[in-house]
Symmetry: C2
Subunit: 352 residues, 2 copies
């Protein structure tokens, strides 16, 4: 039992079973084994308490079965929910996962990629991507498969929702409710590329209704922060609300900030949805709570995870040299209690 505290190796098993190393190896991997020796070896394995050393195996096979998952923030439900799904699928396929938080900083992203490369991961799933060209090049040069998830990236395999179409769904819903002055809100919590695509959707949806998007109805900030966290943001919001022709609704580029907005608006004395409507993006679990009840554009997380893993494993186990594979999924509008018809003029003017 206590044998100097060296873990038993395949050689110990071989000796215990009276066979050679390679025979043990064969038995363990389930190839070429006569029933007789098979049981002998298995017994020996149990007797000495042998457990294969994956590190050694990985070295000699020159590949691991670990995939790296890079994400923005594990405390953000959108990422943790997605990470869970992706991890599940990976496990089912015999892969282990190692996780890294970038906190939205591209320096951190580089470090993490570097580390994953040293670990010789079989592939990488980027649930958030800074968009840095160099990172992608590095990975391509190393021949490590990558798929970018939930964020469109032409230069790489990727699977994402159709951002513009999603926003159009949301904006059109607001238009149908009768809103004409719809504000757009976004924070650095979503990647610049994604935000840009969503903003385009917003603009084109307005254009489709013969409306132009007014500069003073747009509020975007770059740091990954919430309204609550910065007083200047709240001031900007107030300026927006008290301008010449204030909005009657908001489209917000992700649920977390949408919820943050609702909190802030209510704190400022506005009622949602009676006075102001709010639409989010993502459909995180939180949005579905009765107390929150956020109307939002749902990303099909399950599909996202399924497609991402399928593409990644395809690259790892086979056709690395194939053309870029990109999947664009359809978003869906989930109507809940944060949207309603705009207040009538008389009701609106009743405000303090």
């Amino acid at each position: 039992m206590t044998q100097g505290h060296r873990q038993p190796t395949i050689l110990d098993v071989a000796r215990a079973a009276g066979v050679s190393k390679s025979t043990v190896s064969n038995v363990i991997r389930g190839v070429a084994a006569s029933p007789a020796t098979r049981t002998r070896v298995l017994e020996a394995v149990a007797r000495v308490g042998y457990r294969p050393n994956a590190v050694a195996r990985n070295l000699v096979r020159r590949r691991t079965t670990t995939v790296g998952i890079l994400l923005g923030d594990l405390a953000n439900p959108f990422y943790s929910e997605l990470a869970k799904l992706v991890g599940q699928r990976l496990t089912e396929n015999g892969y282990a996962t190692t996780i890294g938080n970038t906190d939205g900083r591209s320096a951190r992203e580089r470090e993490l990629i570097e580390s994953l490369l040293e670990q010789r991961v079989a592939g990488i799933l980027m649930l958030q991507f800074s968009g840095e060209r160099s990172a992608l090049n590095e990975l391509r040069a190393q021949g490590v498969p990558v798929v970018v998830v939930s964020c469109w990236e032409e230069r790489s395999d990727c699977v994402a929702v159709d951002d513009a179409a999603g926003v159009e769904l949301g904006v059109r819903h607001l238009l149908e409710l009768g809103h004409r002055r719809i504000a757009y809100l976004s924070s650095g919590l979503v990647e610049p590329k994604t935000d840009q695509a969503r903003f385009e959707g917003y603009r084109s949806a307005l254009a489709g209704a013969g409306l132009v998007c007014a500069e003073n109805l747009i509020l975007r900030w770059e740091h990954p922060a919430y309204l609550r966290s910065g007083h200047d943001l709240i001031r900007e919001l107030q300026r927006l609300l008290c301008g010449a022709s204030p909005p009657t609704a908001f489209f917000v580029s992700n649920d977390l900030v949408a919820i943050d907005l609702i909190e802030t608006l209510e704190q400022l004395g506005f009622e949602v949805p009676e006075e102001l409507s709010v639409v989010g993006f993502d459909n995180i679990a939180l949005a579905g709570l009765a107390r929150v009840s956020l109307t939002t554009v749902a990303q099909p997380r399950d599909e996202l995870a399924r497609a991402a893993v399928e593409i990644l494993l395809g690259r790892i186990e086979g056709s690395v040299m194939h053309p870029v594979r990109q999947v664009r999924l359809a978003p869906e509008l989930v109507k809940r209690g944060s949207t309603a018809a705009p207040p009538t003029v008389s009701a609106a003017s009743r405000r303090p």
Copy 2:
């Protein structure tokens, strides 16, 4: 650039720099190097595009710098928030993390541990633990450090909040508000051990006020489910609410279920906190939203993570043979809007 697609090894660098393998190794590890050769080697590293192979290093050093994190459910904010903190601290200390979801199933837990052991992780952090004795024994036998986090476990290093004290805080708050009939609710989402400890806290707090805990005010179910998910659970809840002497308040063993309870109660036509008060446990971010505003017993997640990592690294890097280290942290009550004084009799009888 394209060199038959074999990654450059330390030997390639050695040749390129005109030195031996070990000199390169020395430079990379930052030991014994004359400034002259140092730069020569570093140049060669850059020229050939060398990246150390961690797999090979791990094999020869007979240890990795990866720690395994086992948790119940990544989609549960309590775990994902904790996992983030723990991962952060680990990264700061040069460790990578690999994550595994047990989904609360102990079979899955065993599989994951087995896999981590094969990967030869340096240590394991169990953010949820089934309590299975055999798992712990196995790990001890392998000499792999483990610390159980947020769940008390005498047989192992662990750091957790004082569950009983936490519940007493919550129950005493309810008592002070004037509640006398306080129900206890818990689901399989929290480990049996933890639930037991919390239940004891509940009982002792009641006893401290000269109250006995009535059987018909207790609702516990074992599967990790929500009220919403099962109609029989809702029926049981209704039975509890319509009994001879119904509760005026609930203590719930975790926030997710507490929020679930509030949703269910409101759906059933009860107002929270006007008719029924609810106290949770954990203080996940969600609980702090104005729309949710859950009074709850906070676990100091930051402290939990800090202590857990400190103990684990202590074991990994040093004193494996020391006596069990256990840290019990003090919980804190966070009063919010889900608790209030019980309704007066006349108000109560006004119910439909």
